[in-house]
């Protein structure tokens, strides 16, 4: 959890809004440090967290979270964290053995064109199950997904991913008043001159998710080039649904350290001032 990001977004583990869909995206950069922030944030806030981790193994997240002061193994044992390790579960499907059966969450690998209904069912059952089991002392349920571009790489279509995110929003944000955080990694520059619909990749998915989300944090490298002290810039766009009307946009720079990240207004990096 990064304290500076909390103050920028005006939230704290004791006080944050629910029913939010946060979209983390990056282009030629790496936004996964933001995902670790949200993971630590919601675990500290005492929420029921379901983490669909398709990109890395459990020990990676555990090691990073430990540096940020959060113990994932303990949370998993207590039942606060439900962790789906995509890499491990996928082996039983990609390399079929008669002896092994993994969880059905990754069944979409067998037929990527069919959609992500099985993955959604895993998410909703893990969220419902844990809510039923606990005595209600937990906070609202939270879903984190890392990352959606893995799904695209595995052959799932853009529409299927948009349907999946829609259902997650319906189930978790609207019905259970929880939050959803999803990470999407895009590549290359966005070609606006190309025919929009023909780009069936991460750009179209990014546009579709931007319409669905309530807060979009986009990480990209500095437009002026590579810099050792400033790792990139984050532009945040808040969709105000209720009051205000306008969408507020903010840009700030960041630098990632070993145990956290610091955020500052453009031009006020400590290396410059």
């Amino acid at each position: 959890m990064f304290a500076e990001l909390n103050s920028i977004l005006n939230v704290s583990p004791e006080h944050f809004s629910t029913g939010e869909f946060v979209l983390l995206s990056d282009r030629q950069s790496d936004a996964s440090f933001l995902l670790h922030h949200f993971l630590g944030f919601y675990l500290r806030a005492g929420c029921q967290v379901c983490f669909v981790a398709l990109a890395q193994s459990f020990s990676h997240y555990s090691a990073v979270s430990q540096r940020l002061g959060v113990n994932l193994s303990q949370a998993k044992e207590k039942g606060q964290l439900v962790f789906l390790e995509g890499l491990q579960e996928s082996l039983s499907i990609l390399n079929p053995h008669d002896a092994r059966t993994g969880s059905e969450a990754m069944d979409f690998l067998r037929n990527p064109g069919a959609g992500l209904q099985c993955l959604f069912q895993f998410v909703s059952s893990s969220v419902d199950h844990s809510r039923g089991a606990e005595d209600g002392g937990r906070g609202p349920p939270v879903l984190l997904v890392d990352d959606l571009s893995m799904l695209l790489s595995l052959g799932v279509g853009v529409d299927a991913v948009l349907d999946f995110s829609h259902y997650c929003r319906t189930a978790i944000c609207s019905q259970l008043k929880g939050n959803v955080v999803m990470l999407l990694r895009c590549d290359g520059e966005d070609d606006d001159d190309d025919d929009v619909g023909s780009d069936d990749g991460s750009e179209r998915l990014l546009r579709g998710l931007t319409h669905q989300c309530s807060l979009a944090l986009h990480v990209q490298s500095l437009p002026t080039g590579y810099c050792r002290d400033i790792h990139g810039q984050v532009s945040s766009q808040v969709v105000q649904r209720q009051a205000g009307g306008q969408q507020r946009k903010m840009t700030f720079h960041f630098k990632v350290h070993d145990k956290g990240a610091s955020f500052f207004a453009p031009g006020t990096s400590s290396a410059v001032l």
Binding site: Q28, S29, D30, S32, F33, H36, Q56, S57, F58, S59, H60, S62, A63, V64, Q66, R67, L68, S73, E85, L87, Q88, S90, L91, I93, L94, N95, P96, H97, D98, L109, R110, N111, P112, S149, M150, L152, S153, L154, G155, R185, D187, G188, D199, G201, S202, S221, L222, G225, Y226, C227, R228, H231, G232, K255, V256, H257, D258, K259, G260, A261
Partner: protein, 405 residues
């Protein structure tokens, strides 16, 4: 650093019994004693050398065990193949096990072309020498006159077994001696030898990749590289070299067609490979002829699925061949991706413009320096060339400090 390492050590003990995947390197003594590995200064990961010392430096100290290095091939596949051979030769020298897969040439051919390692010590451990030394210390023809205090010390070190240096140098003009080669255990996968199988449990991956994945998994399980395997015997590292994946010889139309039918075959395979590697003590080097892949987003997703990614661009055959850079270097090296595993930051090299040169005894990678403009007339033309060469991508990933060796 020590505290976190001990903690994870404890956790991994419990974890191995519950959850076989554990990527964080355990720092028990058994693992430290694997020859040819060392711990990273940055985040305590177990690293192996790629065989090219300068490439180790560029990648942040070495290749982390459990990761994949993607090399985007240069146009004629000459330098990429060289790096693959360096990687495998390093495995032989460090006594790791090898797994070579190829669809074009027989893996055995690749195995026989490995470069000869340059060792400081006398390479051959001739057993005949030993008894002679011990029985006749003084009547030896090699008795020293001046440095006689040293004459009883053993002259021949035991060769490869105690070669505990990290990263070796190779002489590419010679191939490795057959005796050294035979000492290494090597598994082969040659695609034409694996007929198409239609088994009951069909994998969703393309057949050739499915067979390869299955073969790798079998080797890992059988030879005990899996992290979950019982620790009765001492551990070793498996080095996997996959040559030219994605080329049409693997049955994949990724490179041949603009809109490939199997656009996700290679990426799904890489996902499965990552899953296998994260749960075993192995390292993989994959080469892909990405200059044939038309779709940029596909190249991007292939890069993202591998942890480390570099691209080699050789000057041969390109318009830069006559430029001033060609005299000093053989090509450019682009670092596409350096992972951050078990930590938030990654270590990118400070400079983005790197060039490589293959010398007889070293594959050197250096920061691109334009040679000085010494003549009036040539300067304008060469400046344009050089500007093109030096105008590399300005994209940046997160990365901060150097690694000090």
């Amino acid at each position: 650093m020590a505290a976190s390492v001990n903690d994870t050590c404890k956790q991994s003990v419990e974890r191995t019994s519950l959850n076989p995947t554990s990527f964080q390197k355990k720092t028990r003594n058994k693992l430290l004693s694997i020859p040819g590995t060392r711990l990273s200064v940055q985040n305590g990961q177990l690293l192996v050398s790629t065989g090219v010392t300068s490439l180790d430096y560029v990648l942040g100290g070495g290749l982390a065990v459990g990761t994949v290095l993607l090399i985007e091939e240069d146009r004629y596949d000459s330098y990429t193949r060289m790096i693959l051979k360096y990687f495998l030769a390093e495995g032989v020298v460090c006594q790791h096990e090898l797994f070579i897969a190829a669809a074009q040439d027989h893996p055995n051919d690749i195995f026989q072309e490995l470069p000869d390692p340059i060792l400081d010590d006398v390479v051959m451990h001739k057993p005949a020498d030993q008894p002679r030394l011990s029985s006749e210390p003084h009547g030896n023809l090699d008795a020293m006159k001046i440095a006689w205090r040293y004459q009883n010390l053993p002259k021949v070190q035991s060769g490869l077994a105690s070669s505990s240096r990290f990263g070796h140098y190779y002489d590419v003009s010679k191939t490795m001696e057959p005796e050294i080669r035979q000492a290494a255990k090597c598994h082969h996968f040659y695609l034409p030898e694996h007929p198409r199988q239609s088994s009951a449990t069909r994998s969703p991956v393309l057949d050739s990749y499915a067979a390869l994945l299955k073969s790798i998994e079998e080797v890992i399980r059988r030879e005990g590289f899996s992290v979950a395997a019982p620790l009765t015997k001492s551990r070793n590292i498996l080095r996997i070299g996959l040559h030219s994946l994605g080329s049409p010889l693997w049955g994949d139309d990724l490179c041949c067609q603009d809109n490939p039918k199997h656009s996700h075959a290679l990426t799904t395979f890489l996902y499965g490979l990552r899953a296998l590697l994260r749960s075993s003590l192995s390292v993989a080097v994959v080469t892909v002829p990405s200059h044939l892949i038309q779709s940029r987003s596909l190249r991007g997703s292939i890069t993202r699925l591998c942890d480390n990614a570099i691209a080699l661009e050789s000057f041969k055959g390109s318009e830069r061949e006559t430029g001033p850079l060609c005299k000093d270097y053989h090509g450019l090296l682009h670092v596409r991706q350096v992972p951050h595993l078990n930590c938030l930051t990654s270590q990118l090299p400070d400079h983005k413009d790197l060039a490589f040169k293959l010398k007889r005894k070293q594959f050197s990678i250096e920061r691109l320096h334009l040679p000085p403009d010494l003549s009036e007339t040539v300067s304008r033309v060469s400046r344009a060339d050089a500007a093109g060469a030096a105008a590399l991508a300005s994209a940046c990933d997160s990365g901060n400090k150097h690694l000090d060796f």
